[in-house]
Each structure stands twice: as C-alpha cells, then as structure tokens.
C-alpha cells in the first residue's frame, strides 16, 4: 500500500525545486545557473518515479482507486474545506503524462535555453508549473483544484512572457491571462453555485448527488456549463481559442509542455474529472460535443494556411483538443440519452477522451520540440525561410516525421488508435459532428505534411550562405526527442483505454473496420495532396491561393475572430460602451455628488453668513429680546 505522503510528495517535489531555485540558487549561485536545471530535473524525475509507483498501486487496487485521508484546511463557520488527493486511474494516467513530458522537456531545455540570461528563472517557473499541474491532477475537491487551476494559469502567463522585453511576448502573456480568466470566471461561479446548492466541494460527493438526481435540473446544467467555460478557456476551445496561437511567443519548450501536452489538456481533464456531472445533463454534454467538434474543424482550417511553424502546431493543438472534447461529449450524449449503460458509459467517455490526450501529449510535445530544434538551427519559425533541412538535421527530421504520421492517424502509430475511438463514438451518437471531424482527419494530414515538406524537403530558402552553418541540435535536445518519438509510436499500444474502463482494440482487428479505412484513406489523401503541392509542386500553391482567394483570406485572417474581439467587443462594447459609461458615471454622479456637497455648502454659507453682522450690539439686542421672550413665556404659561 502506498502511503499518502507519497502522493503529496509527487506534488510537493517540484514546488521544493521552485523554492530552492528561487531562494537559494538565484540569490547565491547565480553564476552557475546550470544547477537550477539539475535541481529541476532531479525533482521532476523523482516525481516521475513516485508517479510510476502510484500507477502500479492503482493497477493493483480494487476498482483502480486508492483512497487517501483528507486533511482539514480551512473551517469558516459551518464551511470546512479539505485538502485531499484522489489517486484513481484517470489521475494516475495524467500523472505519468505530466511528469514524463515535463522531465523530457526539462532535459531538452538544457540545450535550448543554454546561455539565456533568465536560465534559472526559466527552470523555477517550469518547476512551479509542474507542481501546480500535478496538484490539479490529484486534487479531490473543487476549491483545491481551482487553486492549482489558477496556479497553472499564472505559470502560463509567466512563461509566455518569459522574454518580457519583447513587446509581443508581454502582450501575448496578458492576452492569454485575460482570455482564460474569462472562462475561469464561469468555473468559479459554477463552484459557488454547486456549493450553495449542495454544501460540498468534494468531487466524489458531487458526482453521487448528480447520479442519484438530488443535484439536477437547471442548477446542474448551469454548473456544468460554468465548469465547461473554464475548460473552454484553458483548452483554447472556440470562442476563447485566440490566446493560444499568440502564446507561441514564449520559449518553444514552454509551448511543448504547457501549450501542447499538459496545461491546455487540463480543460479536457476537468471535463473528464467531472464527467458524471456532465453526463447527467443532456444540454451541458451536448454543448461539450458541439464546441469540441466545431473547434476541431475550425482550428484545422486555419492551420492550413499559417506560415509560422509554431502557429500551425498551435492551431493543430486547438483542433486536437477539440477532438478530445468531442470524444467526451459524444459518449456523454449517448449516456445522457440512455443509449449507453450508465456505469459503462461513464468510464468509456473518460477512456476515449483521455486516451487521445495521452497520445497527443507525446506526439505534440515532440512536434514542438522539433520546431524548437529547427529554430535552433535556422533562427526563424517562418517555414517560407526553411526547406531542405532533412540533410542537415536527420534526427529532427525523422522524429518530426514520426510525430506527423502519428497525429495524422496512420496505422499503427499512436494517434490512429485514439482518433479511431473518438470517430467511432461520435459516429454512433452525433453523426453530424462525425462528418466534420472526418473531414478534419484529411485537413490534419494535409497541414502536418505541408509543414514537413516545407521545412525539411526541397531546397533551403533562407540566407544561402547560412546553409553551410545548418547543424543538428546537441544530444541533450535530440535525446528527449527520440524518446518522445518512440512514445509517439507505442503509446497507442499501451492498454490505457482498458485501464480507464474503455474498450480494448486488437492490433490488426482495427484494420477490419470500414471506419478505419475511411479515415486512413482520407489521411493518405491529405498527405498525398501536401506532397503534390509542396514537394513535387505539380500543383502550384500560388495558383491554388488565387483560385480560392476568398477562402484563403478567411482562413489566413483566422475568420477575423481576433478583429471581432478587438474592434467590436473590446473597443466598442467595453472601451466605448461600458468603460465610457463607467467614466461618465464616475465623472458626473460620484464626482458630482462630492463637488455638489462642497459647492452647496459654500453657496449656503455665502447667504447665511449675512446674518452674522459682526455688530455686537445687535447680538446683545438679540440676547435681550430672547430673555424677554423666555420671561414672557414663563409668566404666561407658568
């Protein structure tokens, strides 16, 4: 049996590393910042080992749940908030994802961030992030979860704005923080709504209440939608997706860890964690499915035309997160409509969504690390200035290719297995969305191989004299990429889905289903089209662009969502409308009140002071008349 302290240690070790770097290394050993990297790697590595221990224990435990004692944290009147951890199958899988990807990214960062003046600060933030993310995964009540939820948001802000001297980075950080905050507001409101109606923050208790039906109706629906709005912000789903592409201003390993593998997946994790609640409300779970399915194709179309390699990957991440949401939503819709057995359906939904999260974490982190490696060599993220890097960077090319095949869903790589699960479930319960995401399979294959061909094939298009200087990245960067590439192949073979209570799939049996063939053919078509356009140039990209000019403009301007927010919501409604109204209110009503009181007093004084003539004799007269009056009253009324 695993002691509770171990579960807490998994969370606390990265925090300890943060403290050591911030309070000891940065003030006293700033001339040797590489120690910060070693401390971070050691602490996260230990967390990984403990997480593996936790995983083994969970596998052995009956029902795949380890019960842990709660600690009382706060008692306010009758309200008591506990700190506790739950280690169940879902948490165990997430622990492995977070610690493993984090560890590999930290090792990679040793090379990527080498010589950066903020080296120690970088690792301090990365430790803080990893700790918060692990806390988020293990928390067993909503308050505790929300605490870490905001913690990862803060780290995301700090790391996007890591190079804060660049104005774009500072702006992107602020934007990410504000946009996710918008979603978090709904999450917080949902937590308070649930507490007001049930008197508990405990996730397990809330699920029981939702399943029994004590918690139901409009309250449940609104609470679930509120929680989902938090997930929409964090996971960059439409309509709060605009922050993620801008977040690419941060260092690339940050994008790999936070904005591809873990933090953005926290939204999916949250929906999975609260899945029994979502599945109890048809409206809420349908919203999840629709938003997920729509975001998947919406973001994929934008990814088609981006020229910045990291932005393609960012939109791809948004699209893949949409897949995960759709996976959860599709099963949830089936459960809510009664098409699926409740107990089986609840586990199946989590399995379908989280399985894709698990696989996506590895191949998407790898893609970002590959983009970082390319940037390390060429100094740019613009694919129009790359090309032909295959010869100079064989390792980067090989790993990037594997990850691209995996995300495109080519059998038997990881992405194939989890994407099949999502397609199959959505086919049964939400056929319209199924059609959308099936098209997205084609789009995904196309935009990924567009990146591959533009970056690695053909001739180098940068400054020609630089082409001799192109070199493969150091081993410390290649090593983690190779490991991730292995994972991007095999992670789909691991029995994650069965472990989470979903369906198992046979290795060759998957090829027997027509659905698999449909998606494989579409993916193949996408790859072939990219090959035809960007490698062989049978079809000129330029002429295509002209032929579909309006659509091209629509995609490349990202459907004008940013402009809509910026010019309409922010400028018109907020600045010109609401803030101007506040300003007028402040100017006229509040200031008017204060100035009015002062002015009235002065004006009144100007008139009333005439009574005070300063003539003592008049005062004397008044006193005398007054006394006479008192005496008269005294005599008359006795």
């Amino acid at each position: 049996m695993m002691p509770t302290e171990v579960a807490l240690a998994i969370i606390l070790l990265p925090f300890l590393s943060f403290a050591i770097i911030s309070f000891i290394i940065r003030p006293f050993f700033n001339n040797r910042p590489q120690i910060s990297g070693y401390v971070t790697i050691a602490s996260i590595g230990t967390s990984l080992i403990l997480s593996l221990w936790a995983l083994v224990e969970v596998v052995k435990a009956p029902g795949h749940v380890l019960t842990m004692p709660d600690y009382l944290w706060l008692a306010i009147g009758d309200t008591s908030i506990h700190i506790g951890v739950t280690v169940d199958a879902l948490a165990a899988v997430m622990l492995i994802v977070v610690t493993l990807v984090s560890l590999l990214v930290q090792i990679y960062s040793q090379g990527y961030m080498h010589g950066d003046p903020g080296y120690s600060r970088y690792f301090a933030f990365m430790s803080l992030f990893t700790g918060s993310m692990l806390g988020l995964v293990l928390a067993d009540n909503l308050v505790f979860l929300y605490l870490f939820w905001e913690g990862v948001g803060l780290c995301s802000y700090l790391l996007i704005g890591f190079w804060f001297h660049k104005p774009e980075a500072a702006r992107a950080a602020t934007k990410a923080f504000l946009v996710t905050r918008l979603g978090d507001f709904g999450f917080l409101a949902a937590i308070l709504l649930l507490y007001a109606n049930t008197g508990t923050f405990d996730i397990g208790e809330l699920h029981e209440l939702a399943l029994v039906g004590t918690l139901g109706g409009a309250v449940l629906t609104w609470a679930a939608i509120g929680i989902f709005s938090g997930a929409v912000g964090k996971s960059a789903q439409f309509p709060l997706h605009t922050w993620l592409p801008d977040a690419m201003e941060g260092p690339t390993p940050v994008s790999a860890l936070i904005h591809a593998a873990t933090m953005v997946a926290a939204g999916v994790y949250l929906v999975a964690r609260m899945f029994p609640m979502f599945a109890s409300s048809t409206e809420a779970i349908t919203t999840v499915a629709i938003i997920g399915g729509f975001t998947a194709i919406f973001a994929a179309t934008i990814a088609l035309v981006m020229n910045d390699i990291k932005r393609v990957l960012a939109y791809s991440t948004i699209s893949q997160l949409g897949y995960m949401m759709l996976g959860l939503g599709a099963v949830g819709v089936a459960v809510a409509s009664g098409a699926l057995d409740l107990e089986h359906g609840l586990m199946l939904g989590v399995a379908v969504g989280i399985f894709h999260l698990f696989n996506h974490a590895f191949f998407k982190a790898l893609l970002f690390l590959g983009a970082g490696s390319v940037n390390h060599a060429t100094g740019t993220f613009d694919m129009r200035l790359m090309g032909g890097l295959r010869k100079a960077m064989p390792w980067t090319y090989a790993t990037f290719l594997i990850a691209s095949l995996s995300i495109a869903g080519i059998w038997p790589l990881a992405g194939f297995w989890s994407k099949e699960g999502i397609l199959a479930e959505s086919f049964h319960s939400v056929p319209i969305l199924f059609a959308l995401v099936l098209i997205t399979v084609f789009l995904t294959a196309f935009y990924m191989f567009r990146v591959v061909f533009m970056t690695f094939c053909g001739e180098y298009r940068g400054q020609s004299q630089d082409s001799h200087g192109l070199h493969e990245s150091p081993m410390v960067m290649i090593g983690p990429m190779v490991l991730l590439a292995i994972l991007a192949v095999v992670s789909g073979w691991l029995p994650i889905s069965e472990f989470l209570g979903g369906e198992s799939h046979s290795f060759f049996g998957a090829l027997a289903s027509p659905m698999s063939w449909a998606s494989l053919v579409l993916a193949g078509l996408g790859i072939f089209l990219a090959y035809a356009i960007y490698s062989k140039k049978w079809i000129s990209a330029e002429s295509l662009r002209r032929a579909f000019a309006p659509i091209y403009t629509l995609f490349s301007r990202k459907y004008w969502v940013d402009e809509l927010y910026e010019n309409f919501f922010v400028m018109r409604i907020l600045i010109d409308g609401l803030f101007a109204a506040f300003h007028r209110f402040d100017d006229r009503v509040i200031d008017g009140l204060v100035n009015g009181v002062a002015g009235g007093t002065v004006a009144a004084g100007r008139h009333i002071r005439r009574v005070q003539t300063g003539q003592l004799q008049l005062y004397g007269m008044a006193i005398f008349v007054g006394i006479l009056a008192i005496v008269a009253v005294f005599f008359i009324f006795g």
């Binding site: 002071r609 005439r610 005070q612 300063g614 004799q617 004397g620 007269m621 005398f624």
Partner: protein, 103 residues
C-alpha cells in the same frame, strides 16, 4: 413715606434699563463702556438692598458687591486700553466702523 426694598429695586431696574439702552443703542465705544458700568452698579444696588432687607445677618451681599466693583474696575482698564488701541489704528471709536473681522 418709609423707604422700602421695592424702592431700591425700582431704582436698580431703572438704572439697569438705562444702561442696557446705552449698551445696545450707542455707537460710541466709550459710552457703551459707561453704560455697562451703569448696569453693573444697578446690580450692586439691588444686591446691597437684598442684603439689608432680607438677610442682614450674613455678609454675603456686601462681599458680592465688593467683588463686582473690583471686576468692574478691571474691566474698565482692559476695555479702555482696547478702545485706545483701536482709536490709534482706526482713528474712530464708532463701533459700526470697527468691522475688520467682518466677512
């Protein structure tokens, strides 16, 4: 005709009224000061009269009168000093002209 308490009181009241009239109606500061003296002395008369006719065994009334006289002397000293000082700077003792502190 026997002179009784009420005669003294009537005299006192007449003197007090004259003094009051002078204090409230006159413009000249010195006249006002004189009027105040008149009022004080009117009070003195009634105090002595009350002592003599109501409680002749006690010395209270006389002591009171002595106090009032001392007070009046002091008051006149201060009052005249102020008036002289004002006259030096303003060249008038008309209380209506002395309005430096007025709004």
């Amino acid at each position: 005709m026997a002179v009784g308490l009420e005669h003294f009181l009537i005299l006192s009241a007449i003197l007090f009224s004259i003094g009051l009239y002078g204090a409230l109606a006159k413009r000249n500061a010195i006249v006002i000061l004189m009027s105040v003296e008149l009022m004080l002395n009117a009070v003195n008369i009634s105090l002595v009269a009350f002592w003599r006719y109501v409680a002749p065994a006690l010395m209270t009334g006389q002591v009171f009168v002595i106090f009032v006289m001392v007070l009046a002397a002091a008051e006149v000293v201060v009052g005249l000093a102020i008036i002289i000082s004002i006259y030096r700077s303003r060249e008038t003792v008309d209380v209506e002209q002395i309005d430096l502190m007025k709004w």
